[in-house]
Each structure stands twice: as C-alpha cells, then as structure tokens.
C-alpha cells in the first residue's frame, strides 16, 4: 500500500532505510527540523542543516522514488538561549523559498520554560507573517500535558487557524483536547516512549480517524523507520478494512499537507472526500 510518513528525520538515517521504506510502499515523507542529539555551536551549523533539508535529502529520497518535503525552525531544546535562537530564526525566511518547504516546524516546548515559550511565540509569529503552516512538537513524558496546553493557547492567542496546524506526539491524555480544539493530531510510533502501533490503533478506535495521522519520527534514537507499515499490519490483524490505513496514512496527510502550495499529492492521490 502506498503511504506517507509525515514525520521522519532522514538526516539521521541511512540510504538503506530509504530503500526499505520505498519497498514497503512509502511514496512521500516530510522532515521537520529537530534537535540533532547535541546542541549546535553556532547559527552557521543550522544554515548547513537547512541546506541539507532543502537540497541534499530531496536528492537522496528521489533516488528511491520518494518525494521529500521539510519544515524549518529552531527546535525547543535549543531555544533556552533566546539570543542564539533569534539568530537561527533570522535564517529561516531565506530558506522558505525552497521548493520543498511546507512550513515552520517542529516548533513547540521541551521543558515548558519561559524562554522556550518566548521563542515558540516568535516562531508562531514568523509562520503567521509568512503565511506558513505549522508542525508542533509536544514535550516528552511528564511535560507533555502541560506543554500541549501551553502551545495550543499560544497558537490561539496568535489567531492561528487550527486547521493549518498539526500537533504531534499526541497520546491518550492529549489527543481529545487537540482534536476538540480543531487542530490536526499526529501519533508517533516509538518502541519505548510515545505510542506503540497497538496504542495508536486503540486511539483511532476511540477518537476516530478524522484529522489524525501516524508517523515514525525515525531519528538517531530508538525508533523504527518502518513503524508506519507495521501499524497498518496491526490494523489488519484486528480486522479493520484496508481503507482505514489508506485514510490515516495517505488521504489524511494529503488533505493536511495540500494546504501548502509546495506540496504535490504523490501517485495521483487526489483530495479525499469529506469523510472516509
């Protein structure tokens, strides 16, 4: 089945992962800017990273027939120093001109600090000024509930249209509030944290299949770039129709991402009907 992995960090993955994903049916990915596992020493390092996201990874992906898109920002883990963060943010507008940039992301909070909030609000404003969509990272573990609420409040205070924002890494305690407030929701499939494929299917069964997608968020840590098709297997194992996986991993991502003029639906996939 053709599918989209709408959140994966291919700069941390091997070319062999591209090959395996393509063989599993992946036709497009979107790659948010993120924390590299260490704090970068200068804004110039981010300029190089943004070139990697806008020039290098699209070529690597194309080798395997995968469309590559990205989101740009400074991530919340490197946002505690506002001066440094603002230097990085000043680089972003020039890179927004690249063909494969969908918007600003993954912005958000990590430890829910005041400085993280300031930089989050400034990047929301950047998105608003440039008419960009937003991909939100929500904090890990004990910080997720509070950080998700603070982020949604900041977006609302800025007058951002929630249908143009995806709140990622939702779990059982945050998904209902995200959907109720009109945002899109992303479930990240990780072996030890966030959602397992089983829990992601549980959440779909409980909260429905509208405005929601799944992603691998594969990166340099414990993660699996094939977790999206493995979640589809879990759906089939329970007896769900194949149309559910298509809805979650193809039609929903196409519906959300098509709000960006940079996105072209893969494989001739058209916009979905109002409901599956």
């Amino acid at each position: 089945m053709a599918y989209i992995d709408p959140h994966i960090h291919m700069v941390s993955r091997t070319t062999d992962d591209y090959r395996r994903m393509a063989e599993a049916g992946c036709v497009a990915i979107t790659e948010p800017a993120f924390w590299a596992g260490f704090d970068r020493s200068s804004p110039a390092a981010f300029a190089d990273y943004f070139r990697q996201l806008t020039q290098v990874e699209p070529r690597r992906a194309a080798t395997y027939g995968i469309d590559h898109y990205c989101w740009l920002c400074i991530n919340p883990k490197e946002a505690e120093d506002p001066g440094f963060a603002r230097e990085v943010i000043s680089l972003v507008p020039e890179f927004l001109k690249a063909d494969n940039v969908l918007g600003i992301g993954e912005i958000g909070l990590n430890k829910n600090s005041r400085n993280e909030m300031i930089i989050l609000e400034e990047q929301i404003e950047l998105a608003r000024q440039h008419g960009q969509m937003i991909l939100v990272h929500t904090p890990h573990l004990e910080d997720k509930l509070k950080g998700t609420r603070l982020t949604m409040d900041a977006l609302a205070n800025a007058g951002i249209e929630p249908g143009r924002v995806l709140i990622d890494h939702v779990e059982e305690h945050t998904v209902a509030e995200v959907l109720d407030r009109g945002f899109w929701a992303g479930m990240t499939l990780y072996p030890d944290s966030k959602c397992t494929p089983q829990r992601a299917v549980d959440i779909i069964e409980c909260y429905g299949n509208e405005r929601i997608w799944i992603n691998s968020a594969g990166d340099w840590g414990p993660s699996d770039p094939l977790s999206v098709p493995k979640c589809h297997s879990e759906m089939r194992r329970r007896g769900h129709a194949p149309s559910l996986a298509e809805k979650i991993s193809l039609h929903n991502p196409v519906a959300f991402l098509s709000q960006s003029p940079a996105f072209t639906p893969p494989c001739g996939v058209g916009l979905p009907a109002a409901s599956a």
Partner: protein, 107 residues
C-alpha cells in the same frame, strides 16, 4: 466522540494479545523483585512512588487506564517554569508527591 470500535471480540483479543501482555506483566514483577535485591537507596525514588500509585489503576474496574496513568505521571501545573535546567524528562512529575502511604509496597 465516536463510540469505541475495535472489530475484535474479547475472546479474539485475548487470543491475540495475552501472551504479549503476560510477558510485560512478568517484566514489571521481575523489575520490582530486582529492586528488592538491589542495595538500598532508591526505594523512595519519585518514579517508583508514581509506579506504585499507577499499578492499582490497572484493576480498579474503571476504563481509560492508559489516559489516567499518563495523567497521573504528568505535571499539572499551568505556568511556564522560570528556566530549563535540563533537556531531559524522567517519566513522572518530579514535584508530583506520589504519597506512598496509601499504595502497596514492593516488599
């Protein structure tokens, strides 16, 4: 909110998932046993207190167990903290209290 809609009946769900979750239950039991055998010093760790408070939720007869355990482990304060002194999370709210008096002990 849509009605829950798992296509499996309960018997089929048990057939599919019991062995996997039997193993996970034994992992928790063995972890607690391992703590009993370890040198003293960490038994009052906030993470263990939170875990001891979470375990009864599994059998209290109420639904939404995953959501309620995640909420138990969460920071429920509303204001941003003054400064981030670490980039990491520990899995439960360090200021959460998790009083151990009303919860079962590992030994």
């Amino acid at each position: 909110m849509p009605s829950p809609s798992c296509p499996l009946d309960a018997r089929k769900a048990v057939d599919l998932y019991f062995m996997e979750h039997r193993a996970k239950l034994l992992d928790i039991a063995a972890f607690l046993d391992r703590l009993d055998r370890a040198a003293a010093g960490a038994t009052d760790d906030v993470r263990l207190r939170a875990m001891r408070q979470a375990i009864p939720l599994l059998i209290d007869g109420e639904g939404d167990r995953a959501r309620r355990i995640l909420e138990l482990f969460s920071d429920h304060s509303a204001e941003p903290i003054p400064e981030a002194h670490t980039q990491a999370a520990i899995g439960v709210d360090p200021q959460g209290g998790y009083e151990a008096a009303a919860t079962p002990q590992t030994t």
